[in-house]
């Protein structure tokens, strides 16, 4: 399959790139992974160019298996995978060059953000003093320095995601691997995080970011890999499938203080197709997700209709597009 090099990384001069232009950050050759009789990834051959790449697929598509294979947490059942030009399995020295942010929460809630990041930075071989300074810098990069001395247990979902990202980028890796980094974030945190990821890409880092929401990936990069049922379905420019996705209504789940007031506001949007109330939440179907998310972010920032705590999107619409792609 061809490698597509575009998006934010294209604007980065060669001398600032961690990975030289033309070389691939990931190369998989007939890569497969079975869990007993269940297949997680099926005969995947691909290359991933430097820059930001979105890994897109519905839940259970094989995104996490692929992420675990490229972070060396799983051994391929068949085939080979190289990351930054070296095999990743059983090669811990490569982790000096990689930062991984897992999807699940993975911390001790009684520790402060700074303590947690500093403890993990030490594993990258830095002295105690340097680790503390590096931890602070990493928290500053994710705009969490103000909450550095708060216990992680008191962090919001967005702060938890950002502190996980801080530990991934603290040692300045060449490649950042972010597994569903926007999951559960409120609109403002989501916008901040997207901006940060784009900035890191512009700074010359290579980033692989997974999501099951197309417009999230689209806001970060044009270069995507579509994965479904353990196979790579398509790779290349996001705009080519963009038209397909717009044909399907997009579902958004919003957890907020004043769901009824929000619903009244949403009804005035012409792209909102339906509304449904759930406990402390509202489920909206929209025909134009981009416009909807932009207005939602503005609403959250203004604070007029109370706090919006969480925005998630089930992958029904993406599933529909995948079904369409599979049929064609």
């Amino acid at each position: 399959m061809s490698a597509v090099e575009q998006g934010a990384a294209a604007a980065v001069p060669d001398e600032r790139r961690a990975v030289p232009r033309g070389s691939n950050i990931i190369a998989a050759d007939h890569l497969s992974k079975w869990y007993g009789q269940v297949i997680g990834l099926n005969d995947v051959t691909l290359t991933v160019p430097p820059g930001i790449t979105g890994l897109l697929g519905p839940n259970g598509a094989g995104k996490s298996t692929f992420m675990k294979l490229i972070t060396g947490q799983l051994k391929p059942s068949k085939g080979t995978i190289t990351v930054l030009g070296e095999p990743i399995w059983g090669n811990p020295s490569l982790y000096f060059r990689i930062g991984f942010c897992p999807e699940q929460d993975a911390f001790y809630e009684r520790m402060t953000g700074l303590e947690w990041v500093t403890a993990l930075v030490r594993l990258n071989g830095l002295s105690d003093t340097e680790a503390a300074a590096t931890g602070r810098r990493a928290l500053e990069m994710v705009e969490l320095l103000d909450a550095a001395d708060k216990k992680i247990g008191a962090y919001s979902k967005g702060m938890r995601q950002r502190v996980k990202m801080a530990q991934a980028l603290a040692h300045e890796p060449e490649l950042l691997i972010l597994d569903e980094p926007l999951a559960g974030m409120d609109p403002i945190a989501r916008r901040k995080t997207i901006r940060m990821i784009k900035d890191w890409g512009r700074a010359g880092r290579s980033i692989i970011v997974s999501s099951h929401i197309l417009h999230e990936i689209e806001s970060m990069t044009a270069n995507i890999l579509l994965i479904n049922q353990g196979r790579i379905l398509a790779e290349g420019n996001v705009h080519q499938i963009r038209d397909l996705i717009d044909e399907h209504p997009h579902t958004v789940y919003i957890k907020a203080d004043q769901t009824r007031a929000l619903a009244r506001q949403f009804l005035s949007f012409d792209d909102v197709l339906s509304l449904k109330f759930e406990e402390d939440a509202i489920v909206v179907q929209t025909g134009r997700p981009d416009a909807f998310y932009a207005r939602l972010t503005d609403l959250a920032a203004s604070g007029e209709l109370g706090a919006i705590h969480e925005v998630t999107s089930p992958d029904d619409n993406l599933q529909a597009v995948f079904q369409y792609l599979v049929k064609t």
């Binding site: 079975w34 869990y35 007993g36 009789q37 269940v38 675990k68 972070t71 060396g72 947490q73 799983l74 811990p92 020295s93 982790y95 000096f96 990689i98 991984f100 897992p102 699940q104 929460d105 993975a106 911390f107 001790y108 809630e109 403890a119 993990l120 030490r122 594993l123 990258n124 071989g125 830095l126 002295s127 340097e130 590096t134 810098r137 530990q167 300045e172």
Partner: protein, 279 residues
């Protein structure tokens, strides 16, 4: 006037090479335990027998009426026997959560995405528990030996019992390795440190209870190899050149200890992974 770049500068200092990650794990764990007052209290209690023995040695060296209290090789064997109670409590307190807490917090996948191998991770955890166990076994026993020399004012006792230093060292290291590996293996089996603590107590008491029942039926100590603590006692007596306590051949007890360590290693190899694969 030149204006210097105020932007972020990449860290240019030295980094520890690969293979030293275990020291980071060990140091963090040891620091965390020393920060707990209850644990410091337990450590203090574990040293009480040492102070009692020191008074005994002082009396034996300085009071003719207390000559009956003069130490022998068996005194040190008995001392390490007494410390077994504290070994149990320290093992449960320190060891139960070592891996279980990381599993509950999903921290393993983060640790193992850093320049840290699974072996280094296990070794780091082992070092935490081993440090505290040696602090209540090997350290007080060796200090006691030094105390004896100091109070007696000569090396006669040490010369007559030259094997004591290696005996204390070999026995405590075997004990610590078996106990720490067993506890780590159990800790890797669960996400709950409480459950692990109960499981460990179960292994100790259940194996002794089965042996006790067999002894009551057969009136023979041939089945002592079933008991976890009895195997250590048997090997301890061999190392300290004392009469054996059980009819079980000591190589069988040693084999059981080695089997325990190997089984624990196998469990750790299977359980300590960044990703749990259920197939």
């Amino acid at each position: 006037m030149p204006i210097h770049d105020q932007g972020y500068r990449r860290y240019g200092g030295s980094k520890a090479p690969l293979g030293q990650g275990w020291t980071v794990i060990a140091r963090a764990g040891i620091r965390a335990m020393f920060a707990k007052r209850a644990f410091l209290g337990l450590l203090l209690m574990a040293w009480l027998p040492f102070f009692v023995r020191s008074v005994q040695f002082y009396a034996a060296a300085n009071l003719p009426q207390a000559a009956v209290l003069a130490p022998s090789a068996d005194t040190f064997r008995q001392f390490l026997d007494q410390q077994a109670t504290f070994v149990f409590f320290v093992t449960v307190y320190v060891g139960a959560g070592l891996i279980a807490n990381d599993r509950r917090a999903n921290a393993l996948q983060i640790y193992l995405s850093k320049p840290l191998t699974r072996l280094e991770y296990v070794f780091g955890k082992l070092a935490i528990l081993a440090t505290f166990l040696l602090l209540v076994t090997w350290v007080p026993a060796i200090v006691l030996l030094i105390v004896q020399i100091s109070f007696a004012g000569n090396f006669t006792f040490l010369k007559n019992n030259l094997f004591l230093f290696p005996a204390i060292t070999v026995f405590t290291f075997i004990e610590v390795l078996l106990v720490a590996m067993t506890m780590l293996a159990l800790s890797s089996l669960s996400n709950s440190s409480r459950y692990v603590g109960i499981l460990y107590a179960g292994v100790i008491f259940f194996s002794s209870a089965i042996y006790g029942v067999l002894y009551a039926v057969t009136r023979s100590t041939m089945f002592s190899w079933i008991s976890f603590p009895a195997n250590l006692e048997q090997i301890g007596n061999v190392i300290f050149r004392q009469p054996l306590r059980y009819d079980t051949p000591w190589p069988l007890s040693l084999l059981m200890i080695v089997l325990g360590i190997v089984m624990s290693g196998v469990i750790l190899e299977r359980r300590v992974r960044g990703v749990e694969v259920v197939a």
